[in-house]
């Protein structure tokens, strides 16, 4: 009986069939981000309850929010989204050095954002024990900071893999998925910045 060579080479169960036009890894990241939006939604519910339903002045006197430092941080994070997009576009064209430079710049800007946020926490002048306003402020910005940390960990792995030559014009799924997560972190920061610092 004739057996095809590819059947001999294949080990394990057959690849699953899927009807979605989105690849399973991207769909997985999409569902993960959906759960993350629900998590942020719970924190935003607490924020709106404290601010609107309970009528707490925002920011509660005598506290002040570092609006301008946060604006600079916002600019850094938005720029980092552009660099991760540049990294992906580079590797799609087969430009490995563009990928490496883009990922490294993104990582460094994300790190700058996180360090700047920690420095701001240290000199902000209030703490979670000072009332509902500081509690919600630290919860929302801290939750986002934790996501930046996760994003930085993913970017670090992707950067190391890029320098080891793991990605090519044909195979760069890891970079694409990391990029989606990083854009999500950036979008969430814009929402946090607009609602907590500006409105």
């Amino acid at each position: 009986m004739a057996v095809h060579a590819e059947q001999l080479e294949h080990h394990g169960p057959p690849p699953p069939h899927y009807s979605s036009r989105i690849s399973p890894p991207v769909l997985g990241m999409f569902l993960f981000i959906g759960s993350e939006i629900m998590l942020f939604g719970a924190f935003f519910t607490a924020y709106f309850f404290v601010r609107v339903a309970a009528g707490t002045p925002w920011p509660t006197p005598p506290f002040q929010l570092p609006v301008y430092v946060a604006f600079v941080n916002t600019a850094i994070l938005v720029t980092s989204s552009a660099t991760v997009h540049w990294a992906l576009q580079s590797i799609k064209r087969g430009n490995v050095w563009g990928l490496r430079a883009g990922l490294l710049l993104t990582f460094l800007m994300g790190l700058t954002f996180l360090i700047s946020q920690v420095a701001e926490y240290l000199r902000i002048g209030f703490n979670t024990s000072d009332g509902a306003f500081p509690t919600i402020f630290f919860c929302l910005t801290g939750l986002h900071g934790a996501h930046v940390f996760v994003g930085l960990s993913i970017l670090l792995f992707m950067t190391i893999r890029a320098y080891r030559g793991h990605f090519s014009a044909e195979h760069h799924h890891g970079v694409e998925i990391a990029g989606i997560y990083w854009h999500f972190v950036d979008v969430m920061w814009i929402v946090v910045y607009t609602t907590v610092y500006i409105l």
Binding site: H85, E176, G179, H183, V187, V191, T194
Partner: protein
Amino acid sequence: MRHNPLSSEAEAFRFLGVVILGAIVIVAAAYLNTWLGVAAAVVVIAAVVRWVRG
């Protein structure tokens, strides 16, 4: 047809651009008056939801 803003990295980057534009509108309105900013946020969110739904 429903538009998935996170189906690829390029789509997610485009969604980020839409959110930045929306945030600029909200921040500009909030600069004039806090409640005008809230009203702008409601309008912008409705517009983004409409865009996502296609």
